[in-house]
Amino acid sequence: MRSLVFLSAEGEGFVPPSSNDFELPPVFGNSAFTTKPILMVFLSVILVSVFFILSSRKAAIIPSKFQFAGESVYAFVRNDLARDVIGHEFMRFVPYLFTLFTFILTNNLFGIIPLLQFPTMSRVSFPYVLAITVYLVFHYVGIRKQGAWKYFKEIMFMPGVPKAAYILITPLELLTFLLVRPLTLSLRLFANMFAGHLLLLVFILGGEHLLQGVIGLKLISPFAFLIGIVLTFFEFMVQCLQAYIFTLLAALYIAGALADEH
């Protein structure tokens, strides 16, 4: 086994996938605005819009399968995410949370859809922008609801704590609310998509490379492809989960900003 690997290493070298594989050239023209991730974002907007417009246009009492699929997603976001987390004021946040969820889910799923096969969110700017919108929304909502002074006072000074302890924990509360929350929110999504795509690249490109080796390596390559396929299903799970977690956390942050007392 070891010598077989060695043999293949003597031939044309295997270039392991790296972060360079995520920097894609423009699809057409010479502009940075025509790269694959950006075109895929536009595609996702079109797909999500068309899907939900079509599934709700001919809404009937007895829903078609198509309508049922659209309504299930909507009901999931409205009931399980917005209503359960935010409480009685949930309805005005449903459009935002619904958009977040479907947008992220579609873009994540691009990672395993044949021919597209690139998760848009593995480019860190997209999660950054999404996290910035969440950041603006939950601080805005909190300040509108409680007034700027009261909102920040609630963040900084928790009731029922000895005064001396504020020196230790007030900076942490501020840092958590103002920096760590949006940062972890975006980096969690980015890192999951990035690592998942890299993992698939390793096994599928590795399998392809083994296929070009000597006969012993050819026999091993199906296992690499098999793991690649298993990991693709695993990725599907991760992609759904990450879209859910991002939306759940957005809802939790909004709920926290709305709550009168923490």
């Binding site: 987390v85 302890a165 230790l168 924990i169 942490l172 840092l175 958590t176 760590v180 759940l248 956390l249």
Partner: protein, 62 residues
């Protein structure tokens, strides 16, 4: 309440992280300023401790 537990699970990571980050950074800056080398470690320990204390304040006491 399920929401409260979910909230706790995700907030704890953030609080522990900011504890280390903030007081670690303070210790590091003091080290630079005073030319010492033990304050970074002190800061990290203080940060971890106050992060855990904050988690307990928020979610531990009922």
């Amino acid at each position: 309440m399920a929401t409260r537990d979910e909230n706790a699970a995700w907030s704890i990571i953030g609080y522990l992280l900011s504890g280390l980050l903030f007081w670690g950074a303070v210790g590091w800056a003091l080290d630079k300023w005073l030319g010492t080398s033990f304050l970074l470690l002190t800061g990290l320990i203080v940060g971890a401790a106050s992060g855990i204390y904050l988690v307990w304040l928020r979610f531990g006491r009922e």
